[in-house]
Symmetry: D2
Subunit: 254 residues, 4 copies
């Protein structure tokens, strides 16, 4: 399929002080876009700077992965934020990473919510609008990366922001094209070869095989892979290699 391309994104910069998490150097050799933590759910300033330097060296685009202020919970617990405070916290995080990125020779080129904030903004209209308002107020040229059909992307579109649709390499899909909930069978796939094949089909044909065996249309501009374990890096590499073998270029969306 001539001219086909896609973006691969992954979470990085999630170490904190003495605590290391993930193999950022390995991941940044695989992906085209890096969702860099901003210090609220993970990521001290030195981790972010090193991460941005490595991203810059590999030509990987940096995005701000904004999250709840919750180091102990790693941003994975829903917090019932006041929307204005959420907007302010997101602006603060984008700016902090922007400064670090600038010093490292790059810049923040998109925004993606992390963890529980990502999940919340699929359905929670107020928090979705709060995140979008932060991006709009800070820089309306920044695209927002999120789940197709989410409140987040709807709010971003309504605010005139560019939206980027994300698919997940290792997640199962329902016949309706939504993610299989993590509590259900078939939610997460673990075989790198299977995952790589699915991503190729997703990118070249715009479809995935759902949990019930049916084929469902899924449109995505970026595919999320992981890097927080050796197995995850191996899977991400398998995805990248398979895309290359099928003539699909990796190309950052931003």
């Amino acid at each position: 399929m001539s001219g086909a391309h896609v973006d691969l994104n992954s979470d990085v910069g999630e170490s904190f002080g003495r605590w290391e998490l993930g193999d950022d150097d390995a991941v940044l050799r695989v992906v085209s876009s890096a969702n860099v933590a901003c210090g609220f759910h993970a990521g001290d300033a030195s981790t972010l700077r090193r991460c941005c330097e490595t991203a810059a060296a590999h030509g990987v685009v940096v995005g701000a992965q904004v999250g709840y202020r919750d180091l102990a919970g790693f941003g994975r617990r829903f917090i019932d934020y006041d929307p204005t405070e959420l907007t302010d916290d997101v602006v603060y995080q984008i700016g902090a990473l922007e400064a670090v990125a600038r010093v490292a020779g790059t810049r923040v080129a998109y925004v993606k919510p992390h963890g529980a904030l990502y999940n919340a903004t699929v359905h929670h209209a107020e928090q979705a609008r709060a995140v979008v308002e932060a991006v709009r107020a800070y820089d309306p040229e920044l695209p927002v990366l999120g789940l197709p059909g989410s409140r987040l992307l709807a709010a971003a579109e309504a605010a005139g922001l560019r939206t980027v649709r994300e698919a997940f390499a290792d997640r199962g899909y329902t016949p309706e094209g939504t993610l299989v909930p993590r509590s259900e069978k078939g939610a997460v796939l673990s075989d790198p070869a299977v995952v790589a094949d699915r991503v190729v089909q997703l990118v070249t044909e715009g479809t995935v095989v759902a949990v019930d065996g049916s084929t469902v249309q899924v449109r995505a501009d970026s595919v999320c892979v992981h890097g927080d374990s050796p197995g995850a890096v191996a899977m991400a590499t398998a995805v990248r290699d398979a895309l290359g073998e099928h003539g699909v270029d990796l190309r950052a969306f931003a």
Copy 2:
């Protein structure tokens, strides 16, 4: 004295969540430059945003008051930072405030260290260089506000940054022109009229009366006043009024 002018600066933005500190609205009607906390020693994102909005409304210039990561100690305890980590933390803080300021319609126009970091960088060459390196790497056009004779201003000058010399309205001076240590008699002055007169003399004649009664030369581009108590705001107002009566204009240095 025709054409005389000086800058008045004060710390603001030091509330945190439920905890309020200082009367920022009152202070921002008095000073020409606002040292806004950046979240590490004080200041949540919503406090910073409100503070920057008020500063913008009153035409007060915003500076980044960077500090140690120590909310419990309010940045008033020396921390033996690794210099690279200090540089990274300062970049992070400047950027966070810059984003908030931008959304509020203004921008970060200078940098001043807070509390124990301010005191440390008077003598501690490594930490002084670490702060300066952050400013230089982030934006070499940003001036650094600090104590005359400090390692901080020396390092800033060596790095090609603009330096701004600060005097303290309510502090006693030694015959050598340095601050009387807080542990000694005469370190802090409390009479607003006396303080106001001293600032007028400082600005119009470039001198202060030292603790031993001698007159000593002190050059300052900005005078620090406080706002964390009703008495402090009254004193700052007295200083501003006295300067006005002597034909001294308030003018931000940045």
Copy 3:
């Protein structure tokens, strides 16, 4: 009314480092039970120690006011904790305060959740059980102070813990005997004389006048008053004085 008695409780120990909140010294001269913050939503260790020393000096009983780990939100934002982690965090907080209290010459004599955790455990069965499990595992002799009809008290009772029912001096009640939601008219009362009279009626007759004018039965072993503003302390004092005038003794429940 011979032999009548009640407990008055209030939140204290909610300063943090440089930030002061409430007039603990004044409040501890009024109440019989002090809900002392434990460091997660507010309260540094030195604040807690001073607070416990003052409580001990005035014969005020100390309770652990446990909360979410959320200084920036002052524990007022619901956090979707894993129940086991909530149990562990509550045990940690009780123990921290217990040590401080012991050094100050007193001890933790009961547990009351704070803010959003208090509100959550009215309805949220899992979090209610998680708090109760912490108390039961730490010391099943500790009573739990909470809202009558709450999941919290139900879970505490089911676990064999002693439960203590709380009423709010300054809150309006529905004809069903529940609190008027804060978003509705009549939710909060501000006249100290009115509030004092209502508390006297509550304690001596077991009833309050609801928002619709009807008289409703409300049973309470402890009445919550506030101390985070000069007006709040004045109201608490009015309540105490009115109780005294009606021959009601203040008596801690623990």
Copy 4:
């Protein structure tokens, strides 16, 4: 050598939320005393609880490893604490761990400072006294584990506390019996067999071979081993095995 015995201690409980550090399960099968973090430099409440449960299951004695309030710096940066605040923070930490330990079926049996606080209290008399005052006020029966010749042990002795002298399995010693500074050659030993032999000599003969080849007397009641890497666990195991082969029993001091 009939009747010889020694204690082996190691730092555990230093994970935090999503971030794992060290192999506590492996370490707790090797040592007789566990220095469990208390949440200020590392260790969330759930980590501490699991760690205490495992320690209890293996009959390992639990000590409170108290540290500076500095998660970002992992307690490895000197902080110029006010001594009273340090005392209060140490009491708070001991109590928090005590509650968690109690729920896990064990208790805090000794106190050891962590990281920069350990290093500071070797020479810093005020901080040493502040730590000791916390232990004395909380429970004067708790022994203090520290470096022979340190201000910490001197202050503990002066306060009537039991002191426990510690040696380091993998550190070089000067001819004076002090540790070779980390910046110098011979500061750290990496060969498990060599380290094991040295510990055997230390325990059975009370001597070590110093960096200059001389034999120096070193008295220690407990030997510190590490567990924060697979190599560290292997070394700790080698030490334990060598002691067993030489008839030295592992026996906790507390």
